[in-house]
């Protein structure tokens, strides 16, 4: 108990220092930050998020994408997701959950060295489909997997 408290204290102090440093512009956020698609991540509706991410193109359902996630997630704060695909020349993989306050969870930009498999963990507000959108050879494809969420994980 006591050690945990120490760690938390230390972490808080260090975080404080960091905030000051950032304020003083000592730690300039990396230039790549500009590439972060704020519009897509801040969108509250799935359509809007998708449009902001992909332009107006709507993805086509594909059986060459596999979304692996548990059928039932007891804790919506941590839902494991694995997206694999056999489509050629994959440029990016994005993961959406329509019922979340911010439907776009994550987007991965893959180089040609990458194998088309990405695993991660996401939050889910309630029972819904996890939607994966894969950009392959300039075209968009999608697949989904329903997950039953017992306890929502977005707080609020």
């Amino acid at each position: 108990m006591d050690t945990t408290r120490r760690i938390i204290l230390k972490a808080t102090m260090a975080a404080g220092t960091l905030a000051v440093a950032a304020g003083a512009n000592l730690l300039t956020p990396s230039t790549v930050l500009a590439a972060w698609p704020a519009k897509a991540f801040n969108a509250k509706k799935m359509d809007v998020a998708m449009d902001a991410m992909t332009g107006k193109g709507r993805p086509v359902a594909s059986s060459d994408i596999k979304v692996e996630a548990p059928d039932i997630a007891e804790n919506g704060a941590v839902v494991s997701v694995k997206v694999t695909s056999t489509l050629p020349k994959i440029e990016s993989i994005s993961v959406y959950v329509g019922v979340n306050a911010f439907p776009l969870c994550s987007s991965y930009v893959l180089s040609n060295q990458m194998e088309a498999t990405i695993s991660g963990r996401i939050k889910m507000a309630k029972t819904a489909d996890i939607v994966a959108v894969v950009k392959s050879n300039g075209k968009l494809y999608t697949a989904k997997k329903g997950v039953k969420v017992t306890l929502g994980g977005c707080g609020g």
Partner: protein, 104 residues
């Protein structure tokens, strides 16, 4: 740095497997502090860059929908044992961190 992360990188025979965990609160900005009733400001990782020998292999763009202490796993080709894999991240409050691992 107080914030830590773990990376494991190994040769799986066909390609290189990476598993990483970044210790980060990933606060959505929607949760309320139970004592004060005020909203806890959003604090989440926005971008993660993965490099192999200095060359970008994967860029992750994350939003608040990614779980606390995010986990990331992927495979990539074209590396050999002993090569270095570097993962670095930035968050929406200007925080950043990263770590490096040798492929075993």
């Amino acid at each position: 740095m107080a914030r830590k992360m773990k990376i494991r990188a190994w040769d799986n025979g066909k390609s290189t497997s990476i598993k990483a965990i970044i210790f980060h609160p990933m606060e959505t900005g929607l949760r309320k502090d139970k004592k004060t009733g005020k909203k806890i400001p959003g604090h989440y990782i926005t971008e993660v860059n993965c490099e192999h020998n200095g060359k970008n292999i994967l860029t992750c763009l994350w939003g608040p929908g990614v779980s606390k202490n995010p986990f990331l796993a992927f495979n990539f080709k074209g590396a050999k044992k002993g090569d270095s894999v570097k993962i670095s991240w930035v968050d929406n409050q200007g925080g950043k961190g990263g770590s490096e691992a040798k492929i075993s």
